[in-house]
């Protein structure tokens, strides 16, 4: 049963990815991205890590997609722009992506992966690891968020003087 489910989620993820890339209208792109994120969350669940799948739903599908939709609507980008250039650049992009995928997947298949040893990861495990030897990265990530906030606000502040 999980086999079928996994294939189903994989298919959904690929469809979502393609809509993000190919759809001229960014709004539908965002919808595709949402589909992609949710299907990945489903796959996490199948891969024995419910913590991540729930996080994925909350953070990605909940937060980031809303961000995108907000900006898309804010800049009223609904009208599909003459967006795709089938020039040389397009061909190179396609070629690069295809080569990348082929080499990657082939590398994977011939590598003697050892067995599939399912370990059920719970929030406790991640938390425990995070606060023991992963502590430094935890603090560093808080600092990363600080930089993100300061930058975003600083950029917006540039326009505050105008209104005054």
């Amino acid at each position: 049963m999980t086999e079928v489910l996994m294939w189903f989620f994989a298919l959904l993820a690929i469809i979502g990815a393609f809509t993000v890339v190919l759809n001229p209208n960014p709004f539908y792109g965002a919808m595709g991205l949402l589909l992609n994120f949710l299907s990945i969350a489903g796959m996490y669940m199948l891969l024995q890590s419910p913590v991540l799948s729930l996080l994925q739903v909350i953070v990605y599908a909940g937060g980031i997609i809303v961000f995108f939709l907000f900006v898309i609507l804010l800049l009223h980008l609904r009208r599909p722009l003459a967006d795709r250039d089938s020039s040389l650049k397009g061909v190179i992009a396609v070629a690069l992506a295809v080569v990348f995928a082929v080499v990657g997947v082939s590398a994977l298949f011939i590598y003697p992966m050892n067995g599939f040893y399912m370990a059920y990861v719970t929030a406790k495990d991640i938390g425990q690891y995070m606060l023991t030897d992963g502590l430094f990265a935890f603090e560093l990530s808080s600092f990363l968020l600080l930089v993100g906030v300061v930058t975003a606000i600083a950029i917006v502040k540039l326009y505050r003087e105008e209104e005054k």
Partner: protein, 454 residues
């Protein structure tokens, strides 16, 4: 320990942001010097910190270079708003952790802190060029980080842990059969691609001239020096600890990468009208030289590379200080026409820095190149050294063009170049550094040699 100083330093400054500008500048400068002194005092202490960092004398040397670059940048960007200084300090913190980290998790986070801080610095302007530079740099830097994350993920699938030494010690990995090496090579190429962006090595150097043109010259200087220094710093850890055994694999790959980077950087700079873009191309060329030293991979060549990086930081930031004083928007070459007549002081400095960048004898640039090439020669790579010398000659030509402009022609635009005390200080530091190390490089050389002892 220096890292924790960095953290305290940045958080304190964050509180101060709301104050007037010059206090913030002063404070950030003070913090940088304090961190510098602390780093210098503890240079021979090495050990394990926080489980993810490995503090070695070599990473201390990189710290000092980063702090030097940041201090000079703060001086150039004196009149910037508070946030700018905060971002500079945040980038310094990111760079310091980046140089020391031997664990992918801490590396990725430090890299992101560093890149986002720089993106913030570029984006803080209102003119279109600056915004465009920020956008381009943002897309490419995030793309590079994504490549590195993917590379790390694939390595994780081989080794089962993100800790570098484990990857090195595990004998499960032998380059014997193609079947288990293709995945490793693929992951390795991915990570190299990401780092290639930071060093603006050949296949990833397209962003450099545009970002240098768009960004404020202090930010451009910062990218040229500190970003390269921290990228090389991490490369040392990555290549020597994680993949130390396969020196054959990445050795000559880096050599060829360096050779190609040099020639592309130099040729592109030949036809350049805009001095900032020219400096951008020159950073590509210099990255090529240092890549050569890394490709050789002996202790001596790494020491020479560190030595060269220190001098390179002094030269480039000095040159950017002059560019800044001439004028942010006057970066086209014909503004430099007849500079000698309008403001002689800047011209004299410009000549010194450009001469040193070209590597002409009396200046430190020559000493740097000399030691770098002699270390490569010792390793028997004569072909590459000859190639590098040819590139040196080419670079001498385009470095000298602004000098001719300044000395020879009649001034088109008569303007009084700004000269604030901070800017003056930067130029003096650069000047003293370039001349001192040019004439008496032995002091710094011993330091770099001692640092590379492990």
């Amino acid at each position: 320990l220096t890292v924790s100083v960095g953290i305290v330093l940045v958080l304190l400054l964050d509180v101060v942001i709301r104050k007037e500008k010059w206090i913030v500048g002063l404070l950030s400068l003070f913090f940088l010097i304090a961190a510098g002194v602390l780093a210098y005092l503890r240079v021979n202490v090495s050990g394990e910190a926080f489980g993810m960092l490995l503090v070695t004398p070599l990473s201390r040397a990189f710290d000092l270079i980063i702090l030097l670059g940041a201090a000079m940048t703060t001086l150039i960007a004196w009149e910037k708003k508070g946030e700018h200084h905060f971002l500079v300090l945040a980038a310094v913190l990111g760079a310091m952790v980046l140089v020391k980290s031997v664990h992918f998790i801490s590396f990725l986070l430090a890299l992101e802190v560093f890149s986002f801080a720089i993106i913030g610095q570029i984006a803080l302007t209102k003119d279109r060029l600056g915004v465009e530079a920020a956008m381009k740099f943002f897309v490419l830097s995030v793309l590079a980080s994504t490549f590195i994350v993917m590379g790390a993920a694939l390595l994780y699938s081989i080794y089962g842990s993100f800790y570098f030494p484990v990857a090195y010690l595990s004998d499960v990995f032998e380059l014997k059969s193609l079947s288990n090496s293709l995945l490793f090579i693929f992951a390795f190429v991915l990570i190299l691609a990401g780092m290639g962006f930071k060093l603006s090595a050949v296949p990833f150097h397209f962003w450099t001239p545009e970002v240098f043109r768009g960004a404020h010259s202090s930010v451009a200087g910062f990218i040229a020096t500190v970003s390269k220094a921290s990228a090389f710093g991490f490369l040392v850890n990555l290549l020597f600890i994680a993949f130390g055994r396969q020196i054959a694999l990445w050795g000559d790959l880096l050599m060829w990468l360096g050779a190609v980077t040099m020639i592309v950087g130099n040729l592109a700079a030949l036809g350049e009208r805009d001095i900032k873009r020219m400096l951008g191309y020159s950073t590509i060329a210099h990255a090529g030289y240092i890549l050569l030293a890394f490709g050789v991979g002996t202790n001596v060549s790494i020491g020479a590379a560190v030595f060269y990086l220190a001098i390179y930081t002094l030269m480039t930031l000095g040159a950017f200080a002059v560019v800044h004083s001439v004028g942010e928007d006057r970066s086209d070459l014909n503004y430099y026409r007849g500079l000698l007549k309008t403001n002689p002081f800047q011209t004299a400095l410009l000549v010194v820095f450009l001469v040193s960048l070209a590597g002409i004898p009396p200046t430190a640039g020559f000493a740097g190149k000399f030691y770098l090439f002699s270390s490569i020669l010792q390793a028997g790579e004569v072909g590459f050294v000859v190639w590098a010398l040819i590139n040196g000659v080419i670079s001498a030509y385009y470095y000298m063009r602004p000098v001719f402009y300044a000395l020879g022609f009649e001034p088109e635009h008569v303007f009084e170049a700004r000269l604030r005390p901070a800017l003056f200080l930067v130029m003096v530091i650069g000047l003293v550094g370039v001349l001192y190390f040019g004439l008496a490089p032995s002091g710094l050389l011993e330091f770099t040699k001692s640092v590379v002892s492990p």
